[in-house]
Symmetry: C2
Subunit: 339 residues, 2 copies
DNA sequence: CAACTTAATGCAACCGCTTGCATTAACTAT
DNA sequence: ATAGTTAATGCAAGCGGTTGCATTAAGTTG
């Protein structure tokens, strides 16, 4: 059996409680004894037992990571894994562990979350998505469970911790990237407006126009379904337009790739005829031909920061809910031509 | 505070141990009392406390999922997430939980694994990769810790549980897919032979040739670096060859996309001039233009099966190490032309 | 009917750590 | 020297289950 706090205590010639307090670096233990205890721990190769500790202190150092309920397709987005990686790396180095909730439906996920809370396994969560209305958030909020969102908070916005990209700024930056290269006729392709990241990026796109005194053409704005099997007809109209855009800001790399393919099919060359800038800087952008210039949103850091916040709040319950913005940067892959 | 086993016991008019035994469906409790107890549990909404149970029974129902140590790039492969999803879905529905280990270096990961074992948090692992020589496997094996591999076992092959694709068969099937469409000059593009999945797929490719009485051209076989920034010069030679292949089997979708781009650049049209079939059926294949026909290896199922095996073995320690083969199937996306 | 099984349940000691409170020792102040 | 502080440590009762063994009641046998 593993070495316990008692073994350490006997070796150090103190009581178990002293050892326990030493681990927690409790100030009421003298530096001298602490040293003795630490020496004993080192000699025995002591590792504290998590389960016991959690049980006794009634708090599980375990964070549940909730993936969006969905079918296969959505998961392909590599930043989920990157966020998970950011979270777990931070957690593991802070003696926290994580557990994944990846159910197929929101109901199932809610069920999983609920039972994890009830059986004491998990007492804080990070959701890797944000939606207008989410039953899991409702539940967590009503139970007073600590949670953080990666993305923008819709519900209970002032009371929730969230870590996000400044999508408005990102949209503006992307647009300015094109403006700086001489483009003035810039289109925007995004998703329906309930997907806030998309509409925020668009808003930034409009801001950039305003600031640079460029007109905003309503025709230049295209909306596609959530899963863009194919681009809408409006796009083909727009591209046949005599006065068509010379560049596009598109809401993410998927759309970027889709747009690029579309251009190819109708004989337009990227970036010679059409410049493209998209978001996320995923491998999809990099593997496209030509690769698509994209705004990197630093997903690993999003995850790390979310973990940091959760752990801080777990250990410091009176902290107010923080909002964190992670910086982004444009990665030029060559799909933006200078006019 | 949550409802405990004692509350249930009082309500049911039995002792705590009886409640505990009822949970475990212990045969020495009469059906009659069990019913009483279950009714009480239901009435109180009782959920067993994991931590307490684990502590008392000295076994943590937690499985560690180890991702390959690596930098950002490798993670993009969506099947990691899919495997995680398969694992967690199975685990969550069997009262097991999972935790992710996603460190940047093998050493860090080993350290994380080691301390998770020592502090009793985790006592079995699933590795989402396989390598010729891995210090984590060495460690787990030497400590007698239960683990499973997704991929082929190199070390201690007879004693380890692994879940894998039959890559030889898959390679053969892919090749036959082309042969059936009239191709006789078929190339193969793969990775260095230490990546067993690649060499196995190639072996299957050769088998298909043998069985169909087709000659194997050594020139038709191209090897690329692990991270294919660009395809090797030998490929360009091969494609300029008067007698060049009309089709290629390539080791994964990345290579498939790379090949397709390469063809485009030198003016060859897929599938008219060159047919391509690759493996994994990832979104990369689907988003390519044209989409690339690919062998789906059912990653979610790989994960589920690994979890199944680990849980079986955890609850039944005398079981011998199993090897599981998950079926694959070709998904035709239109990159294979009938001659 | 006494002696003996057998089946069903309860007792109580853990699992390894935490923590409020008591205890002890060493000081200070009067 | 006595009472009053203060600092450092130990005691012991949990946390919520598990489980070997004891106990009790019912059933069997000669």
């Amino acid at each position: 059996m593993a070495v316990t706090i008692r073994d350490v205590a006997t070796l150090a010639g103190v009581s178990p409680s002293t050892v326990s307090r030493t681990c927690k670096n409790n100030p009421s233990i003298s530096e001298e004894t602490k040293e003795k205890v630490r020496a004993a721990m080192a000699k025995l190769g002591y590792e504290p037992n998590f389960q016991a500790s959690n049980l006794a202190s009634q708090n599980s150092r375990t964070i549940g990571i909730v993936l969006p309920a969905s079918e296969r397709s959505m998961y392909v987005n590599s930043f989920f894994l990157e966020m998970i990686r950011g979270i777990t790396m931070y957690c593991n180095s802070h003696q926290y562990i994580t557990t994944i909730i990846a159910d197929e439906t929101e109901e199932d996920a809610l069920q999983t979350v609920r039972s994890m809370i009830r059986n004491g396994l998990v007492n804080s969560f990070i959701l890797l998505y944000s939606k207008q209305k989410d039953s899991i958030i409702d539940f967590l909020h009503s139970e007073g469970v600590l949670y953080a969102l990666i993305g923008k908070a819709y519900q209970f916005a002032n009371q929730t911790i969230y870590v996000d990209t400044d999508n408005i700024q990102a949209g503006k930056d992307a647009t300015e990237h094109l403006i700086q290269r001489g483009h003035t006729k810039i289109g925007f392709i995004g998703y329906e407006k309930t997907l806030l990241f998309s509409s925020d990026r668009r808003y930034g796109y409009e801001l950039a126009h305003l600031e640079h005194g460029l007109p905003i053409h309503p025709d230049y704005h295209i909306t596609v379904e959530h899963t863009p099997n194919q681009l809408p007809e409006t796009l083909s109209k727009l591209l046949n337009y005599p006065n068509r855009p010379t560049a596009f800001v598109v809401a993410d790399d998927f759309l970027g790739v889709a747009l690029e393919h579309y251009c190819q099919q109708i004989g337009l060359v990227v970036p010679e005829d059409i410049s493209i800038i998209s978001f996320n800087n995923s491998l999809f952008a990099q593997l496209a031909l030509p690769p698509i210039t994209s705004v990197d949103i630093n997903s690993i850091q999003l995850g790390m920061e979310a973990a940091t916040q959760i752990i801080n709040h777990a250990e410091n319950p009176k902290l107010a809910a923080t909002k964190i913005i992670i910086p982004h940067q444009i990665v030029e892959w060559g799909s933006c031509k200078k006019l």
